[in-house]
């Protein structure tokens, strides 16, 4: 076994907390049951790691096996990375591609290897028709750096790819190219969504949040639905604007649904608006253009609590949420009505 590979495996195993050691090693499926049983996991961590590396030596672990272990570790600790989303689009009138995973993988690898001689590409399939790709980048003259890999999660036959970029900016166009060609799309752009929570990004982009549809078959009894802002009201106290409060709660519930929001930390979008009639700038021809950035430990929950807290007005009409004809800015389409003063985007 190569020294670099041995070092890489050692460092990867060292990262794994002892409580998860056996689960991750079992998922790796490289070391056999018998081999694992010979390891005393109660020793000090350094000794355990030493023993495991020796076992890997015995089995002649390759760089690919080591990369696979790294992927599994990252899958378990996905919150440690910051994820971006890329959106791809097809040309007009193209049929849906009967996606062949094998073909995708070989095509992706080929594009990268043709451009950069030194690059390590590894794949791991997941159950939901998705694949995790790990790319270790090198240059024409240097070997790939295994300690700063890029991860890509791609769900077949969808136009989205989730990436954790930890590489030079110069490699990003090449990554985009590879994704585009392998998945048979024409264009690729980076979206303005970023979060540590991959599942939340997935929920937003695949529109799996807010599955609150009106049917004749109610699935949750009315008492369970609550926005969590009940006040125990003494019947002798009359709330002057009780009706308004109820309306706000109802609209908030319709927009956000009853369950926890996808967790995102950062959102931004461009705004172009004219000034209100009556203000001194109302006659200006040129609209105001600006960039609005939101950030919060849990952006959507924060937005959800804005209206009930009385911090913004709720207009009666809604923008369509995630309208299919629009490309980007799902966040805007969904939560736009809750912003103070209805600007036009």
């Amino acid at each position: 076994m190569d020294e670099t590979v041995a070092e890489f495996i050692k460092r990867t195993i060292l990262k794994i907390p002892m409580s998860q050691m056996t689960t991750i090693l079992k998922a790796w499926e490289f070391l056999s049951e018998n081999q694992l049983q010979t390891v005393n996991f109660r020793q000090r961590k350094e000794s355990v790691v030493q023993h495991l590396v020796e076992l890997c030596e015995e089995k002649h672990a390759s760089l690919n096996d080591a990369a696979l272990l790294d992927i599994i570790y990252t899958q378990v600790h996905r919150h440690q990375k910051m994820w971006d989303v890329f959106q791809m689009s097809k040309g007009p009138g193209e049929d849906v591609d009967p996606f062949d995973m094998k073909q995708f993988k070989s095509s992706f690898k080929k594009v990268l290897q043709r451009a950069l001689k030194n690059v390590t590409v590894s794949f791991r399939d997941t159950e939901e028709n998705a694949v995790w790709i790990r790319i270790a980048w090198g240059t024409q003259y240097t070997k790939p750096n295994q300690y700063k890999p890029t991860y890509v999660v791609y769900y077949s036959q969808t136009p989205y790819a989730f990436t954790s970029l930890s590489t030079l900016k110069s490699n990003i166009p090449l990554l985009g190219q590879a994704l585009k060609i392998a998945s048979k799309h024409q264009e690729i752009v980076k979206m303005d969504l970023r979060s540590r929570y991959l599942d939340s990004l997935k929920a937003i982009v695949f529109k799996q949040y807010n599955q609150n549809f009106e049917t004749h078959n109610p699935t949750t009894p009315l008492q369970e639905r609550s926005v969590g802002l009940h006040v125990n009201m003494d019947s002798r106290i009359i709330h002057e604007n009780a009706m308004e409060k109820e309306r706000v709660q109802r609209i908030t519930q319709e927009t956000f649904g009853d369950y926890p929001q996808p967790q995102i930390e950062f959102a931004q979008y461009k705004l172009e608006t004219k000034f209100k009639n009556g203000s001194i700038l109302a006659e200006r021809e040129e609209p105001l253009r600006c960039l609005i950035k939101f950030s919060s430990p849990h952006l959507l929950e924060a937005l959800k609590s804005l209206a009930p807290a009385g911090m913004c007005r709720i207009p009666k009409l809604f923008c369509s949420s995630g309208s299919y004809s629009q490309g980007n800015s799902y966040l805007y389409h969904l939560y736009f009505p809750l912003l103070p003063d209805n600007p036009r985007c």
């Binding site: 849906v96 094998k102 969808t158 078959n217």
Partner: protein
């Protein structure tokens, strides 16, 4: 001075007559006014009197009706005998009708396409099924305005919703809904077959089932007899048409360098036809059955 006096005197005496005339005049007009007022008051009074009379009649009528109903209720309670059915009041009839209608609305989703009016428009529910098994439901919330818009939906991202909408949503909404139903039912059916293969017939597979999100390209390696030594076949099922649940192309190959014996070649060809004509899980069910029959024949 004398003039004024005479005037005064005349005035006095004339004032006396004039004043008297005036007094008489005002007296007449006053009494006229009083007469009119009296007449007015009398008219109002008689109107009110008729009104009071009407109201009294109405009150008496209502009282009589209440008494009648109470008497009816009393007699109905009193006249209940154990072997007689209880008379159902109108309210109960209405309530039963309402529950009936509610139940019909709820059961409507079993037709596959149902909906509910919302404040904005209508929320359509597409309930998919395959071979009598009810599968997932998908929703499309429509806003009724010009142009017709989809407010939000739960259709998976790999179903070409935008294309179907671009073609039919504005011009022919029925066509839009039926087309979407087709795609979703076909997807659900293919997914069901693939899931069945993975769960019920895993023993027949020699490796993992390769599938994609739309379940329209499946490849797997299988053995007809899971325990036997038979040759493993590699199958590749392609469903080019997204609205079908049976594959459009089936390719079965044999992994190995030696040429297949004629019997195995025949089997390979027949399998190709099988996979193209029967749903995936049923093909494997028939493999299982022939396996059982073989077992039985071995016993004897």
């Amino acid at each position: 001075m004398e003039q004024t006096n005479t005037l005064c005197q005349d005035g006095k005496s004339e004032g006396g007559v004039l004043a008297h005339l005036e007094r008489l005049e005002t007296g007449v007009s006053r009494s006229h006014k009083q007469c009119e007022e009296l007449q007015g008051a009398q008219a109002v009074g008689s109107a009110l009197a008729t009104k009071i009379h009407k109201l009294r009649c109405l009150r008496d009528k209502l009282r009589a009706e209440v008494k009648q109903r109470q008497a009816r209720v009393k007699t109905s309670i009193a006249s209940v005998e154990p072997d007689q059915t209880v008379k159902i009041s109108e309210q109960e009839v209405l309530e039963r009708k309402q529950e009936n209608v509610k139940a019909i609305l709820q059961a409507y989703r079993f037709t596959g396409l149902s909906g509910k009016l919302t404040s904005r428009g209508v929320c359509v529910c597409i309930s998919t099924a395959f071979e009598g098994n009810l599968l997932d439901s998908y929703f499309v919330d429509l806003v009724i305005q010009k142009p017709l818009q989809i407010y939000h939906h739960s259709v998976p991202v790999f179903i070409p919703l935008e294309e179907i909408a671009a073609k039919y949503l504005q011009s022919d909404i029925q066509h839009f809904l039926f087309s979407l139903c087709e795609y979703l039912n076909a997807y659900s059916g293919r997914k069901y077959q693939a899931d069945q293969l993975q769960s019920e017939f895993a023993a027949f597979l020699a490796g993992p089932l390769q599938r994609n999100s739309l379940c329209n390209l499946l490849s797997f390696t299988y053995k007809v007899d899971p325990r036997g030594e038979g040759f493993p076949f590699c199958a590749r099922l392609l469903y080019k048409d997204l609205t079908v649940t049976l594959p459009t192309d089936v390719v079965i190959t044999y992994q190995g360098t030696e040429a297949l014996s004629t019997s195995w070649e025949e089997q390979r060809a027949s399998h190709e036809i099988l996979f193209r004509t029967k749903p995936l899980h049923q093909v494997f069910a028939s493999f299982a059955k022939t396996g059982e029959m073989l077992d039985m024949s071995l016993v004897y």
